[in-house]
C-alpha cells in the first residue's frame, strides 16, 4: 500500500518537475526576448544620444562659424582700412557669401527650438549689420580716406555688432550644451536603469538555471534509485519461486513417506502370517528331531558293548545328546514364544474388536482370525469359511452396496474400504468397518485379499445417541421465547437457542456461531464490562440472577440467570437464561406510580382537611368569644354594637369557608361535562377586558404567542379561572421597581399542549416555599388582597383536566408557570 503511495508521489513529482522545466524554459525565452528588446532599445538610445552630441557640435560649429565670419569681416575691414589692400576685400566677400548658407544650416539644425531660432534671427541680423558696417568702413576708406574710416570705426558700432554676435553665439552654444547635458542625463538614467534591469535579469536567469539544474539532477538520481529497486524486486521474486518449488518437493517427499508407512504396516502383517507358518514348520521339525534322537539312542545301545573308544564315543554321544536336548528345549521355547506372540496378537485383536482375515482367490475361501470369527458370531474352530458364507452375513439393506463395491474392486483389483451391517447367527445386528488390501505373490500376480474387520457397533450406537441427545437438546432449548446460551471459560459460545441467535443478529447485524466470542456482538464498552463481570462470577462458581434494562431497539427489561457448568469439581463454563420481564416490570412501575399518586393525593386530602378544619374552627372560636362577651359581660351600647358587628363578620366568614369547601369539591366532580373548543386568544381578550382598569392602573404589558396552538378542548370555566388567576397574581405580585410584563406562550410538544405564563414580578423563594405554593389559604405577601386560594384552585382545575402544572421562580426576577395538557383529554 505504501509502495503505491510512493509510486504515485514519484509520478506526481515527475510531472511537477517536467512542468517546472517547461515553465523555466518558457521564462528563460521570455527573458531573452525582453533582454533583446532592452538591448535594442538601449542601442537605439545610444544612437540617439550620439546624434544629439553631433547635433550640438554642429550647432556650436555653425554658430562659431558665423561668429568667425563676423570676426573675419571685422579683420578684413580693419586690414583694408590700414593697408588699403584689396586682398582683404576678398575675405569680406567670402564671408558675405557663406553667411547665408551658414545661417540657413544653423536654422535647419535648430528647427525645433524656438528660442534658438530667435537667437539665430538676431544672429542673422547682427551678422548682416556687421558685414554692412565692414563694407561701409571699406567704402569710407576707399572713397573718403583713412580719417573718416577711423572716425566711423571709432563709433564702435562694429565692435558692438561683433560683441553682440559673440554674446548670441555664446548663448546659442550654452543652450545647446545645456540641452546636451540634459539629454546626457536622461540617457545616463536610462542606461543606469537598463544596467540594473540587466543585472536583475541575469540574476533571475542564473537562479532559474540553477533550479533547473537541481531539478534535473534530482530527477536523474531518483531514476537511478527506481532502477535499483526494480532489480531488487526481480531478485526477490526469483527467490520466492525457488522457495515454492522446494515446498512442492517437500510435499511430494511427505507423500512418499506416507506411502512407505502404509507399506511397512503391510509388511508387518505379512510377517505375522509368516510367523504362523514358521510355527507349524518348527513343530514338524521338532517331531523329526525327536525321531532322530530316538535313532541315535538305539545306535548308542548297539555300540555300548564295545571297547573304551565306544564308551568314550558313547559318553561323547550322551553329551551330544544332552546338547541336542537342550537345543530342542530352546527351540520349544522359541516355538512357545511364537505361540505366545500369536496369542498376544489374537488378544489385541480381541480387545480392539478388530479381526483379520485372508481371502484366497484359488480356493475362494476366507480365513478368519479368532476375533474375526467372534465378530461374525461364529464359534471357535470355524475360521475357514467360503466367500459366499461371508456374503450371507451381510444385512440385506447393505448387501447391494457391499457386493457392488466388492465386485468393482475385484474387477479393478483395488483396495476396499467398506462400512456395512451384518446379522449374526443369533439375529443380532453389528456395524462393521472393513479395510482390505490386495495380496500379490512372488510372480506379481494377485493372490488374494487380506484385511481387517472392525466391530464399530458401540461407536455407531454412541454416535446415534449423541445425535439423539443433540436433537433432544435443540428441541428443548428452542421451545421457548426466552434466550438460552452457554459460554466456556474463554467467553466462547458453546450452544445457543434460536431466540438468542435472533437477538444477536438484530443487534449486531450478523449471526453468531458456535465458538465465537460472545463479548463482541454490538454492545457498548460499559455493557461489555458488565457482562464480562457476570460471566466471571459464574466461572467462579456463583449462581445468580441479574436484571438488565435496555432501550434499543425497544424498551426491554430482562431477568438473566447465570449458572456455572461443572465437570467433576471444575467449572468449565456457564449456562445463561434470559427472560423478558418487561410486562411485569412495567406493571410494577405503573403500580408504584399509581401508589405514589394515591399517597400524594391522600396527603393532599389530609392537609386539605386540616386546613379546612382550622379555617372552620377559627371563626367559630371567635363567635364563642363574642357570644360570651355579649352574654356574660355588661357592655356599653357602642361596644355591644361593635361586638355584634364582629359576630356577623365571623358568621359570614364561616359561611364563606363552607362555600369554598363546596367549590373546591365541585372541581373534581364537574369533569366530563360541557367540554368545548376554547380559543386562548379569545379567552385572554375577555380577561383583559374584564380587568382593563386594573391593567391600565398597574401599566401591565402582555406579550403573547399563540402561533403554535391557539385552542384546545376544555371546560371553558376552568380554563378561564386558570388564566384569570395566573394573570391576576402576576399583576398583584408585580415588582415594585418595574412595570409588570406578562408573557403567555403556547407550544405543541408531541402530543402535549404546553401553556407558559411568565412574569417579571416579585418571584417566590422556592427553596423555602416549594411545598406551600399551591397550598390552600397560603400567601407569601400581605401587601395585597387575597385569601390564598388562587393557585390552589388553578392546580386543582389543571389536574382535574388531566394536566400537570410546574413552577419556576427566582426572587425579584419573576415567576414562570408551565401547564401541560394531553391533546386527547383523559379524565383524571
Amino acid at each position: 500500500m505504501s509502495r503505491d503511495v510512493t509510486f504515485i508521489k514519484d509520478h506526481m513529482k515527475t510531472i511537477v518537475r517536467r512542468k517546472f522545466l517547461l515553465l523555466s524554459c518558457i521564462i528563460l525565452v521570455c527573458i531573452g526576448v525582453i533582454t533583446g528588446y532592452a538591448i535594442y532599445k538601449s542601442n537605439h538610445e545610444l544612437n540617439e544620444s550620439e546624434k544629439w552630441v553631433r547635433h550640438t557640435e554642429q550647432v556650436i560649429y555653425q554658430s562659431g562659424n558665423i561668429l568667425s565670419l563676423g570676426k573675419d569681416a571685422e579683420a578684413a575691414s580693419r586690414g583694408f582700412v590700414i593697408t588699403k589692400d584689396s586682398s582683404f576685400l576678398d575675405q569680406l566677400n567670402t564671408a558675405q557669401k557663406t553667411t547665408f548658407t551658414n545661417i540657413e544650416q544653423l536654422r535647419r539644425l535648430t528647427r525645433d527650438n524656438p528660442s534658438q531660432q530667435m537667437r539665430i534671427d538676431s544672429l542673422d541680423f547682427y551678422i548682416h549689420k556687421r558685414l554692412d558696417f565692414s563694407y561701409h568702413t571699406v567704402e569710407l576708406r576707399s572713397k573718403q580716406g583713412l580719417a573718416s574710416a577711423i572716425a566711423f570705426v571709432s563709433t564702435k558700432q562694429g565692435k558692438f555688432y561683433t560683441d553682440r554676435l559673440q554674446e548670441i553665439t555664446n548663448a546659442i552654444q550654452r543652450e545647446e550644451s545645456a540641452l546636451l547635458k540634459q539629454r546626457k542625463q536622461t540617457n545616463l538614467i536610462s542606461v543606469k536603469a537598463f544596467d540594473k534591469f540587466l543585472v536583475a535579469v541575469f540574476i533571475l536567469m542564473a537562479v532559474i538555471i540553477i533550479l533547473m539544474v537541481i531539478t534535473t539532477a534530482n530527477y536523474l538520481i531518483q531514476n537511478n534509485e527506481k532502477e535499483k529497486r526494480a532489480a531488487e524486486l526481480v531478485i526477490a521474486n526469483r527467490e520466492l519461486v525457488i522457495q515454492n518449488e522446494e515446498k512442492g518437493m517437500r510435499a511430494a517427499e511427505l507423500f512418499i513417506a506416507n506411502k512407505e508407512l502404509a507399506f511397512q504396516s503391510d509388511e508387518k502383517e505379512k510377517r505375522a502370517a509368516e510367523l504362523v507358518i514358521a510355527n507349524i514348520e518348527l513343530i514338524v521339525q521338532n517331531d523329526e528331531k525327536g525321531m532322530r534322537a530316538a535313532e541315535l539312542i538305539i545306535a548308542n545301545k548297539e555300540l555300548a558293548f564295545q571297547s573304551d573308544e565306544k564308551e568314550k564315543r558313547a559318553a561323547e554321544l550322551i553329551i551330544a545328546n544332552r546338547e541336542l536336548v537342550f537345543q530342542n528345549e530352546e527351540k520349544e521355547k522359541a516355538g512357545q514364544e511364537r505361540v505366545l506372540n500369536e496369542r498376544r496378537l489374537a488378544r489385541s485383536q480381541q480387545v480392539a474388536h478388530m479381526g483379520s482375515w485372508e481371502l484366497d482367490f484359488n480356493t475362494n475361501a476366507v480365513l478368519l482370525s479368532d476375533e474375526a470369527c467372534r465378530i461374525f458370531g461364529l464359534g471357535d474352530g470355524q475360521n475357514q469359511q467360503a466367500f459366499e458364507t461371508w456374503l450371507s452375513f451381510i444385512h440385506p439393506d447393505d448387501l447391494y452396496f457391499a457386493s457392488k463395491t466388492v465386485n468393482e474392486s475385484l474387477s479393478s483389483l483395488s483396495n476396499i474400504s467398506l462400512y456395512y451391517r451384518i446379522i449374526r447367527g443369533d439375529g443380532s445386528i453389528r456395524h462393521v468397518f472393513s479395510e482390505s488390501k490386495l495380496e500379490i505373490d512372488t510372480d506379481a500376480k494377485p493372490k488374494g485379499y487380506y484385511g481387517i474387520i472392525h466391530d464399530v457397533t458401540e461407536i455407531k450406537l454412541a454416535e446415534e445417541k449423541i445425535e439423539f441427545d443433540k436433537n433432544n437438546l435443540e428441541a428443548l432449548i428452542n421451545n421457548t421465547n426466552d434466550l438460552m446460551w452457554s459460554v466456556d471459560q474463554d467467553f466462547k459460545l458453546i450452544t445457543s437457542n434460536k431466540p438468542f441467535n435472533e437477538i444477536v443478529r438484530n443487534m449486531s447485524g450478523s449471526s453468531i456461531k458456535k465458538g465465537s466470542n460472545v463479548l463482541s456482538a454490538g454492545f457498548s464498552e460499559v455493557q461489555l464490562n458488565r457482562y464480562k463481570e457476570f460471566y466471571e462470577r459464574a466461572f467462579a462458581g456463583e449462581s445468580f440472577t441479574e436484571i438488565e434494562y435496555t432501550v434499543l431497539p425497544v424498551e426491554l427489561w430482562s431477568e438473566i440467570s447465570y449458572c456455572p457448568i461443572r465437570s467433576a469439581e471444575n467449572v468449565i463454563g456457564t449456562a445463561c437464561h434470559s427472560r423478558d420481564i418487561t410486562k411485569r416490570r412495567l406493571a410494577e412501575l405503573e403500580r408504584s406510580e399509581i401508589t405514589n399518586d394515591l399517597i400524594q393525593r391522600n396527603k393532599n386530602l389530609e392537609q386539605f382537611t386540616y386546613i379546612i378544619s382550622h379555617n372552620l374552627r377559627a371563626p367559630v372560636a371567635n363567635i364563642i368569644g363574642i357570644a360570651y362577651a355579649i352574654h356574660f359581660k355588661k357592655l356599653e351600647p357602642k361596644k355591644e354594637k361593635e361586638m355584634m358587628g364582629h359576630l356577623i363578620t365571623s358568621v359570614q366568614k364561616l359561611d364563606e369557608v363552607i362555600k369554598d369547601l363546596n367549590y373546591i369539591l365541585q372541581v373534581n366532580r364537574e369533569v366530563g361535562e360541557k367540554k368545548e373548543t376554547v380559543r386562548f386568544s379569545e379567552l385572554l381578550e375577555n380577561i383583559q377586558l374584564s380587568i382593563s382598569s386594573l391593567i391600565r392602573q398597574e401599566d401591565a404589558q402582555f406579550i403573547t404567542n399563540f402561533q403554535d396552538v391557539d385552542q384546545m378542548q376544555a371546560l371553558k370555566s376552568y380554563l378561564h379561572s386558570i388564566f384569570f388567576n395566573l394573570i391576576l397574581n402576576s399583576i398583584k405580585y408585580k415588582s415594585f421597581d418595574r412595570r409588570p410584563v406578562i408573557e403567555i406562550t403556547t407550544r405543541m410538544r408531541g402530543n402535549t399542549i404546553e401553556l407558559i405564563f411568565k412574569d417579571n414580578g416579585l418571584g417566590i423563594d422556592l427553596e423555602k416555599r416549594k411545598d406551600q405554593v399551591f397550598g390552600l389559604y397560603k400567601r407569601f405577601h400581605s401587601h395585597t388582597e387575597g385569601k390564598g386560594m388562587g393557585l390552589f384552585m388553578v392546580k386543582a382545575q389543571v389536574e382535574s383536566m388531566g394536566g400537570k402544572i410546574f413552577i419556576e421562580s427566582e426572587v425579584n426576577k419573576g415567576t414562570e408557570f408551565r401547564i401541560e395538557f394531553e391533546r386527547e383529554w383523559k379524565t383524571a
Binding site: 378544619s613 382550622h614 374552627r617 377559627a618 371567635n622 364563642i624 363574642i626 362577651a629 359581660k633
Partner: protein, 124 residues
C-alpha cells in the same frame, strides 16, 4: 402583644384583656413579619418592660412555627423579656404537643381567650 392575622380575634383578645387589666398596653399585629421587626427593635432596649406574646399558629404569610424559628435567632436580652403563649383555634393534639415542646412557648391556649385564662397568665 397579639400576633394573629384574624382582626376579630385580636379585637376580642383586646376586649378580654382590658376587662382584666384595664391599663394594659396591648399591641396587635396581623402581619407576623411586622411583629418580629417590632419585637427586635423595641425589646433590645434594656429599660423596656416585660411583655406577653399571644401567637397564632396558622397565618398565611408566616406560620407560628416559623415565627418562633425567627424569634429564636433574637438576642438573649430580647428573648428574656418576652413570654410567648400559643393561642390557636386548632384542636389538633399534635399542635398542642408541638407548642408545649418548644422551649420558648410557655403554654398552649385554645381560642377563644377567656378572662380566667388571662388571670392565670398574669399570675405566672
Amino acid at each position: 402583644m397579639v400576633v394573629d392575622d384574624d382582626i376579630i380575634n385580636n379585637e376580642l383578645c383586646r376586649f378580654v384583656i382590658e376587662e382584666v387589666f384595664p391599663r394594659a398596653d396591648i399591641e396587635t399585629f396581623t402581619d407576623p413579619g411586622k411583629a418580629l421587626v417590632y419585637i427586635e427593635s423595641t425589646y433590645i432596649d434594656i429599660n423596656a418592660p416585660d411583655a406577653v406574646v399571644l401567637l397564632d399558629i396558622n397565618m398565611p404569610t408566616l406560620s407560628g412555627w416559623e415565627f418562633l424559628e425567627a424569634f429564636e435567632q433574637f438576642d438573649e436580652r430580647v428573648k428574656e423579656k418576652l413570654k410567648v403563649y400559643m393561642l390557636s383555634s386548632s384542636v389538633d393534639p399534635l399542635d398542642s404537643v408541638r407548642a408545649k415542646s418548644n422551649k420558648y412557648v410557655l403554654d398552649y391556649i385554645e381560642k377563644p381567650l377567656t378572662s380566667e385564662r388571662v388571670k392565670i397568665l398574669a399570675s405566672k
